[in-house]
C-alpha cells in the first residue's frame, strides 16, 4: 500500500488544525511557561518532555526539538496530529487555570516533527547486534514503537502482519482531516529506516504460522495484533446491503475510492470517537443528511466533547437515547433503521418505535476482540477478549509481551506507542538477563 492512489476519497479532506508557519510556531512556543515538573508531561502517556521541546522551537533549535519528541515517542509526528490533546497535554496546561488559552502543544509538536520529516533528519542507529531476535505480531503503532526501541538495543526484529502493509489503524483508521494515510506510511518508512526490521506482510499468525513456530524462531514475542472486524448488531435485517462496519468503511475511503453518490441519508450507530469521525467524514464526502444514533445521552457519550462540537459544525444531527432494533429494506438494500427510544434507565419507552429513513448505515459500536487467538498459549490470560498484561507489558508466559489495542481494548495511538516502547524496554531486560 505504499503506493496509494492519489485520487483516493480521503484526498478531499483538508487539515482540521492547519500546520503552523515558523512565525506562528515561534510566537506560540514563546508563550510556554516552561513549568517545572510540568503537568503536560504527566498527562502524556509517552511522557514527552514538552516544555523542553517547546523551548527548543523558541530558540530555533528545531532539530533538537524533534529529537526530544522522538526520544520519548518515535511516532511523535502522527501523535501530534491524532492525539486528543484537549483531554491530554493541552487539557492539563496550567494556562487553563489562568483563563488564558492553553499552549497548542499538538500543533507545536507537529511543527517540529514535520520539520524533521521534510529535512530527513535521522536521530537513531541500531545497537550492536545482540544475537537475540524478537517476533512482533501485528504492524501497528505499538509494534512499530516496540520494534524501533528493540533495534536501538541491537535485537533482531521481525514484524508479522496479516495485511499487505503495516502501519495499523494509524494508516487506515485515522480521520483524514487529522492525518492522511500516506503521511502514516511516511512515518512507517521513517521507523523502518533504523534498519534491521524484517517485515513479513500477508502472514496471519494463528493461520499461516503458529505461535509455537514463532516461539521457536524468536527469543521473545510481542503481541500487538490489535482488534478484529467491526462489531455487528444481531437484529433483523443486519444482512441487508448498505449496513456496513465503520472501521471497514474508513479504511476503504482512506486507501481507495469510495463512491457515495447514491447516499443521501446516512445513519451512524454509536456514540464513541469512531462514530464521531464517521459522521464528520460522511458530511465532507458529500452525504447530505448524517444522523448519529446513540443509545445514551450527550453527556454519557464516550466520544470526546470537542469532537462532537466539531461534528455539529459540519451539520451532523444526533438522535440521542435511540436504540436500533432492526433494519428495514427493499430489494435487499437498507432503507431505514427501526428504533426505539430509551428512558433514563436505558429501558425502551412503550410506543416509541419508529423508523429513521436511511440509504446507508454504518455501525460504529466497537470492534471485536481477538484474545481468542492466544488461547493455546499456556500462561497467557485474556480478560473480556483482551490479552492480560502486568508490569512491562508482560503476559503470564515468560518471553511473551503484549500491548496496543489487543491488550488495552482500544485506546489512543499514543497509548499504543507507550506500551510498545515499554514492552521493548522490558524485553531488552529479559533478553539481557538470559545472555
Amino acid at each position: 500500500m505504499s503506493k496509494l492512489p492519489a485520487d483516493r476519497s480521503e484526498s478531499v479532506f483538508s487539515d482540521f488544525k492547519p500546520a503552523y508557519s515558523s512565525n506562528q510556531a515561534r510566537v506560540e512556543a514563546n508563550r510556554c511557561l516552561y513549568c517545572h515538573d510540568a503537568p503536560c508531561i504527566t498527562a502524556c502517556p509517552t511522557g514527552i518532555d514538552i516544555p523542553t521541546f517547546i523551548r527548543k522551537i523558541a530558540t530555533d533549535n528545531v532539530r533538537g526539538s524533534a529529537r526530544t519528541i522522538f526520544d520519548s515517542n518515535i511516532l511523535g509526528m502522527s501523535c501530534a496530529r491524532v492525539c486528543p490533546v484537549e483531554v491530554l497535554c493541552v487539557g492539563d496546561c496550567v494556562y487553563n487555570h489562568m483563563g488564558v488559552p492553553p499552549i497548542q502543544i499538538g500543533k507545536l509538536q507537529r511543527y517540529a516533527t514535520d520539520a524533521a520529516f521534510e529535512a530527513g533528519w535521522a536521530f537513531y542507529e541500531a545497537g550492536a547486534d545482540s544475537g537475540k531476535s524478537v517476533g512482533i505480531v501485528g504492524g501497528g503503532p505499538a509494534a512499530l514503537a516496540c520494534a524501533h526501541r528493540l533495534r536501538q538495543d541491537g535485537h533482531a526484529v521481525t514484524i508479522y502482519d496479516k495485511r499487505n502493509h503495516i502501519g495499523g489503524l494509524n494508516a487506515t483508521g485515522v480521520a483524514p482531516y487529522k492525518m492522511p494515510a500516506d503521511r502514516a506510511m511516511d512515518e512507517v518508512d521513517k521507523v523502518l529506516a533504523i534498519g534491521g526490521i524484517e517485515v513479513q506482510t500477508g502472514v496471519e499468525v494463528g493461520a499461516d504460522v503458529s505461535f509455537a513456530e514463532l516461539e521457536d524462531r524468536h527469543d521473545a514475542l510481542f503481541l500487538a495484533f490489535g482488534l478484529g472486524p467491526d462489531s455487528r448488531l444481531a437484529v433483523q435485517g443486519a444482512e441487508l446491503a448498505g449496513v456496513e462496519g465503520a472501521v471497514d468503511f474508513i479504511e476503504r475511503f482512506k486507501t481507495g475510492i469510495e463512491d457515495l453518490s447514491e447516499v443521501s441519508r446516512a445513519i451512524v450507530v454509536g456514540g464513541g470517537n469512531t462514530a464521531l469521525d464517521v459522521v464528520r467524514e460522511l458530511r465532507v464526502l458529500g452525504v447530505e443528511q448524517v444522523t448519529m444514533a446513540y443509545r445514551g445521552t450527550e453527556a454519557r457519550m464516550s466520544g470526546y466533547a470537542h469532537e462532537w462540537a466539531a461534528a455539529k459544525v459540519e451539520g451532523v444531527v444526533a438522535a440521542w437515547q435511540t436504540q436500533p432494533i432492526g433494519f428495514e429494506g427493499s430489494d435487499g438494500k437498507v432503507t431505514g433503521v427501526r428504533c426505539v427510544r430509551l428512558d433514563a434507565n436505558k429501558k425502551p419507552i412503550d410506543g416509541s418505535e419508529h423508523v429513521l429513513p436511511a440509504d446507508r448505515v454504518y455501525l460504529a459500536i466497537g470492534q471485536s476482540k481477538l484474545g481468542a487467538l492466544v488461547d493455546g498459549l499456556d500462561g497467557v490470560e485474556t480478560e473480556w477478549g483482551c490479552v492480560k498484561v502486568g508490569a512491562g507489558q508482560a503476559t503470564g508466559r515468560p518471553g511473551v509481551y503484549a500491548g496496543g489495542d489487543c491488550a488495552n481494548g482500544g485506546k489512543e495511538v499514543v497509548n499504543a506507542v507507550a506500551e510498545g516502547r515499554d514492552a521493548a524496554i522490558a524485553i531488552h531486560a529479559y533478553l539481557s538477563a538470559q545472555a
Binding site: N30, H36, P39, H97
Partner: protein
C-alpha cells in the same frame, strides 16, 4: 486637569514628550506629523557637515518573538543639505509656534559652531542640543562621544557654544564612561543650561553565525554601533538619578533611554528628568504611541494629585541612597496565594536553582490540580529576594510581605559606626 507643560532649562513644550535626535526627527514633514500626533517637542536629527551613510544601518534583539527590545544603529548625523534642514526648521516653527524644536548640532571648529548656532536661531530653534554622545563613526572623526568622554573638551566646547547662543543649550551626554557625574559637571561648568542623557551605548548587536560577521552587515563587514531601546532603560535611569541626586549638579535633565510608554516616562520624571526623549519605540511603532503617553501621564498625575510636572520631577530621588544606608533588619518573605496559583512551579525551580532553596513542592503535587501543586514557602529560610515573584506568571499571586522580627532599623553603616545589632542571616545554609 493636570498641566503637562514642560520646562526644561527654559525650553517650553506643551507636554514632556520629545522626539529624540534620530531618524524620526529627520525632516520637517516628519516632525510636523509627530506634532499633529501629540508630541510636545522634537530634537532635530543632528546637523553638521552632511555625511554619507552605509546600508544596512540597524540591528535588533529579538526576544520572545518581538523585535527591538534592544536596538542598535550605525547611522550617522544628517545626510541632508543644511539649507534644506534649516528651511524646514523655520517652516515647522512657523506652523507650530507652541511646540519645542531643539536643534542638535555636531561640528568641529569654533567657527563652525558659531555659524550653526546662528543659523539654528535664525530658523527659530527653541534650544540647542550639543551631540557629545554619538559612539560610532563620528567619534572616529573627533566628534560625538570623543568629546563627551573628555570632560575638559566637553567643558571647552560647551563654553564656545554659550559664547554665541541666545537660546538654552543642552549637552547630550554619552553613557560610554565609567561615571556620568564628572561629565555632567563638566557640561555645567561650561555653562550648559541643562543636559540630556543618555546617548547610545557602544555595542555589537549580534553576529551572523553562518557567515561569521558581526551585525548589521555592510558588504561582509560591520562596525560597532549605538545600543538603545527598552533594554537600556535601567542604565539610563541610573545615570539620570546619579546626576539628579548629586548636590553639585543643579541644571535640568532631559531623560533619554528606552522609554516606550507613559510609565517609563514617569520613571524618568521621578528620577529627575524635566522632559523625556523617545526614538526607538517610535521607530518600531510610529508617532501614534504618544497619544497613550499623554493620556497615561495625565491619569497618573490625577491619581497622584500632581497639578504640574514640577511637583513630580525628582520625587523618587530622596529614596535613592547608597547600599550602606539600607536597613539590613527590614525583612520580607514570599506569600503564595493558593487561590490564584496555577501550579506551574516556576517559583519553585527558580528558588531551588537560582536562589536560596526555600520554596518546596507540595506533597500532593502529583495530583496535577492547581490546588494540589501550590508550592510551600519555608518562611524561616526565605531571604525575601523577589525572584519567585518575578518569575510568577500570575499577577498578584506572589506577594512579598513584611515580617515584624523585633529588630530596629540598622544599616551596614549603622552597624560599622555604632555597632547596631543585625538580625540573624537567613538562607545562608
Amino acid at each position: 486637569m493636570p498641566d503637562l507643560t514642560s520646562n526644561t532649562a527654559g525650553i517650553i513644550s506643551p507636554n514632556p514628550f520629545w522626539l529624540a535626535s534620530a531618524p524620526p526627527a529627520n525632516s520637517g514633514e516628519q516632525v510636523m506629523r509627530a506634532f499633529d500626533a501629540g508630541w510636545g517637542g522634537a530634537v532635530w536629527k543632528t546637523l553638521g557637515q552632511p555625511i554619507q551613510n552605509v546600508s544596512s544601518r540597524f540591528g535588533a534583539i529579538r526576544w520572545k518573538g518581538a523585535a527591538g527590545v534592544g536596538f542598535n544603529n550605525i547611522e550617522l548625523i544628517t545626510d541632508r543639505p543644511l539649507d534644506v534642514n534649516f528651511r524646514e526648521i523655520a517652516e515647522v516653527k512657523k506652523r507650530y509656534p507652541k511646540h519645542a524644536v531643539i536643534v542638535s548640532l555636531m561640528v568641529e571648529s569654533k567657527e563652525e559652531w558659531r555659524e550653526m548656532i546662528m543659523r539654528s536661531e535664525d530658523a527659530g530653534a527653541d534650544g540647542l542640543e550639543l551631540n557629545f554622545g554619538c559612539p560610532h563613526g563620528m567619534c572616529e572623526r573627533g566628534m560625538g562621544s570623543a568629546v563627551g568622554q573628555e570632560p575638559t573638551v566637553n567643558e571647552r566646547i560647551t563654553s564656545w557654544v554659550k559664547e554665541y547662543a541666545n537660546v538654552p543649550v543642552l549637552v547630550k551626554l554619552t553613557p560610554n564612561v565609567g561615571d556620568i557625574v564628572p561629565h555632567g559637571l563638566a557640561a555645567q561648568a561650561g555653562g550648559a543650561d541643562g543636559v540630556s542623557l543618555i546617548n547610545t551605548i557602544k555595542s555589537i548587536i549580534g553576529v551572523d553565525i553562518d557567515n561569521f560577521t558581526p551585525q548589521p552587515v555592510v558588504g561582509g563587514r560591520s562596525t560597532n554601533g549605538g545600543y538603545c531601546g527598552a533594554a537600556v532603560r535601567p542604565i539610563a535611569l541610573h545615570m539620570c538619578a546619579a546626576l539628579a541626586r548629586d548636590p553639585r549638579f543643579n541644571v535640568p535633565i532631559s531623560g533619554i533611554g528606552g522609554i516606550t510608554n507613559w510609565r517609563d516616562a514617569v520613571e524618568f520624571l521621578l528620577l529627575g528628568s524635566s522632559s523625556v526623549q523617545v526614538c526607538t519605540e517610535v521607530m518600531l511603532k510610529g508617532y501614534r504611541i504618544v497619544e497613550d503617553m499623554n493620556e497615561g501621564l495625565n491619569q497618573y498625575m490625577k491619581d497622584k494629585g500632581f497639578d504640574t510636572l514640577d511637583q513630580m520631577v525628582g520625587k523618587a530621588i530622596p529614596a535613592y541612597t547608597e547600599w550602606g544606608e539600607l536597613d539590613l533588619n527590614f525583612e520580607i518573605v514570599a506569600k503564595i496565594d493558593s487561590q490564584s496559583c496555577i501550579g506551574c512551579q516556576a517559583c519553585l525551580v527558580a528558588c531551588h536553582d537560582g536562589a536560596h532553596q526555600c520554596i518546596h513542592p507540595s506533597p500532593t503535587a502529583a495530583e496535577l490540580t492547581p490546588e494540589s501543586r501550590v508550592p510551600i514557602v519555608d518562611e524561616s529560610e526565605c531571604v525575601g529576594c523577589n525572584l519567585c515573584q518575578i518569575v510568577c506568571p500570575v499577577e498578584g499571586c506572589i506577594t512579598m510581605e513584611q515580617v515584624d522580627n523585633g529588630f530596629g532599623k540598622a544599616s551596614w553603616n549603622d552597624h560599622l559606626v555604632r555597632g547596631a545589632q543585625l538580625r540573624p542571616k537567613k538562607g545562608a545554609h
